[in-house]
């Protein structure tokens, strides 16, 4: 009897995600799919609005990474106001934006480590879910939990100082920034009372990398063999090949490390990236046009970024990068669980970048905005915590937006997330007559490595947690489990 198993996580106001696993008559996995309901109406919503509103408007998209959308839209508007394609801002304008971006990355990566990764590391992925969670960490490892909260708070305060406020920040404007950092703000971040200063943040970020490495050394079989599959990898890199989360050129490598997109200007990304529509998913499937729809899909995010870049331009993170790369003999890393390792190295890099920027006198400059000859089209890209984020706009003679196209990190990772789920489903569901907690958790772990955005633009009471439903061949539900 063929069956369909549905894992249905969170429902929000306009969307939700679910996993369907199709079993054949012999209980073998025939097919598995991750469905994420992506709200696409926003691209129509901004049409008709004046272009200078975009950096603030786009923060309505997402309650978890509004800074990434704010900065990507601002970068696109830089092009439109004639401030160049990423290298035309004043030093103060660019460095304040970078400080905002690395502050966002630091608090986001910290949250992922504390909330999703550390429970698995500290308690093991097979531990009781009632313990293996963020509150379990607080109960059993209070020092680590308090560290994570202070790291989050530090990153949030960097955002507040650069973006102006926590909700709907206004810091980045077309052509630059609307404020620089005061002496008091800079000194507070550099020399604030322990632990809220950057040196403590760097030491804690280093400790988090060490924690992962210790877990890895004791659990190599699980970490190295969970959801491993060959993938292409795409990200921005600095023109000299360095890791750069704010600006650069687009580079992609295949699973063996061969460059398949060689440092191209992202202003014409549409010549290189296509978006395929599939009838079973609301979310598009991006691919490299030079490779084609079938094999041109790619991974974005921390794993991809450390596969595409040549080096990391801060000393502590570079040292960790060298160890990380040596583990795969310099070849691209295709192990899904190593996403956590890569993320923690990036977090260390973000902390080091914050210190470097705070010590740069340009961060307190007064020349904030650049403008030039206006054009009617602009593209803004950056590396959001979860991966490459594309914003593309066209305006008319009346300065109104007439076209917007956004490719968010979760969309870029659509195919690799499906591959990860399929890989895990085949290894744990095959031949099993029942859904167990452990099977559900394995699928969750695979998805959580990517931390996809499940329509998080709104939050309201009344949401539903994880649900697993099992259907028989006629489509009738024969089992439902909720978490």
């Amino acid at each position: 009897m063929a069956r369909k198993i549905t894992i249905e996580p969170v429902t929000r106001v306009e969307g939700h995600g679910k996993v369907t696993i199709h079993l054949d008559d012999n209980n073998n996995v025939a097919q598995s799919r991750l469905h994420i309901v992506e709200f696409r109406g926003f691209e129509r919503f901004v049409q008709g609005r004046p272009y200078w509103e975009a950096p603030v408007l786009v923060q309505r998209l997402c309650g978890i990474c509004p800074v990434s959308h704010h900065l990507a839209a601002a970068k696109a508007m830089d092009v439109i106001v004639g401030a160049g394609t990423g290298d035309g801002l004043t030093p103060t304008g660019e460095k304040m934006r970078r400080l905002m971006h690395y502050g966002q990355t630091f608090q986001s990566h910290t949250l992922h480590f504390f909330h999703l990764c550390s429970p698995d590391l500290l308690f093991g992925v097979d531990a009781d879910p009632a313990i293996r969670n963020v509150i379990g960490v607080a109960l059993e490892h209070k020092d680590l939990a308090v560290q994570a909260v202070m790291m989050r708070k530090f990153g949030q305060e960097i955002i507040r100082a650069t973006a102006g406020k926590k909700i709907h920040g206004t810091g980045a404007i077309p052509g630059g920034i609307n404020k620089s950092l005061s002496d008091e703000e800079r000194d507070e971040f550099l020399k604030g009372a322990d632990p809220l200063n950057i040196d403590k943040m760097i030491s804690w970020a280093q400790a988090a990398v060490d924690l992962f490495k210790d877990f890895h050394s004791k659990n190599k079989d699980m970490i190295d063999n969970f959801a491993v599959f060959p993938s292409n990898h795409l990200s921005l890199v600095r023109k000299d090949g360095a890791l750069d989360l704010y600006h650069g050129v687009l580079r992609a490598v295949d699973s063996e490390g061969k460059k398949i997109l060689n440092d191209v200007d992202y202003q014409d990304y549409y010549n290189h990236i296509g978006e395929e529509v599939k009838n079973w998913s609301y979310m598009k499937f991006p691919y490299l046009k030079s490779i084609g729809k079938k094999d041109g899909w790619y991974t974005v995010g921390p794993l991809a970024r450390l596969n595409t870049c040549d080096f990391i331009p801060t000393p502590l993170a570079q040292k960790e990068f060298e160890q990380y790369k040596a583990y795969t003999n310099g070849k691209p890393n295709n192990m899904s669980m190593h996403m956590h390792w890569a993320r923690l190295i990036e977090n260390l890099h973000a902390a080091e970048m914050i210190k470097e920027l705070l010590n740069d006198k340009d961060i307190q400059g007064k020349n904030l905005v650049t403008k030039g000859k206006k054009v009617n089209e602009g593209v803004g890209l950056l590396e959001a915590p979860r991966g490459t984020l594309f914003h593309h706009y066209k305006i008319n003679e009346q300065d109104q937006i007439v076209m917007a196209n956004l490719i968010v990190s979760t969309t870029n990772n659509n195919e690799p997330m499906n591959r990860a789920v399929t890989h895990v489903a085949k290894s744990v569901f095959t031949g099993k007559p029942e859904i167990t907690e452990g099977m559900m958790n394995s699928v969750e772990v695979a998805i959580r490595a990517y931390d996809p955005c499940l329509s998080c633009a709104t939050h309201a009471l009344g949401e539903m947690p994880l649900e697993v439903s099992m259907f028989d061949a006629r489509g009738d539900i024969i089992d439902v489990k909720r978490k």
């Binding site: 926003f42 607080a138 939990a145 996809p452």
Partner: protein
């Protein structure tokens, strides 16, 4: 010095009635009540346990997609409510984190204001506006009661 009351409104003001929480927090902030602090964010997160630990009483204010009109007000107990992603933490989990990390059991309430529209607009629906006004009047009285009760306990 500890705060007497923290009013924490959360939600996305760019999504119509999802902004009810931050809107009420802003109204309370304008009152400049002694011992009362306010905060707002898109969603609750783990670091909010620190803010809760610094207050005797916390009132979480959120929009509700269903339930009582114009609002409901309920006392909250700490609970280990696990979410699938990093994208939000429940008020009960924030309380639990506060208790585990800082050893503080703050008294907490949820004020859930009924909302109706969730589109890309920075404007409440007319009915939600009315619900907000009623919740605002209720909360001012409730805060006054909480502070009076606290003063009485201190005197005793």
């Amino acid at each position: 010095m500890r705060n007497r009351v923290l009013v924490y409104g959360y939600g996305n003001p760019g999504r119509q009635d999802d902004g009810l929480g931050p809107a009420l927090a802003a109204l309370i902030e304008r009152e400049r009540l002694a011992g009362v602090v306010t905060d707002s964010n898109y969603q609750l997160q783990v670091e909010d346990a620190l803010a809760v630990s610094e207050s005797d009483t916390v009132i979480f204010v959120d929009a509700a997609v269903s339930g009582e009109e114009p609002f409901s007000f309920t006392e909250l107990e700490p609970a280990n409510e696990i979410t699938f992603t990093t994208h939000s933490v429940s008020p009960a989990s924030v309380l639990a984190l506060c208790h585990e990390m800082y050893g503080i059991a703050a008294r907490a309430y949820v004020l859930a204001i009924r909302g109706y529209g969730w589109e890309f607009m920075e404007k409440l629906t007319p009915v939600a506006e009315k619900n907000l006004e009623q919740a605002y009047q209720f909360l001012k009285d409730k805060i006054s009661d909480i502070i009076s009760a606290s003063d009485t306990m201190t005197l005793n």
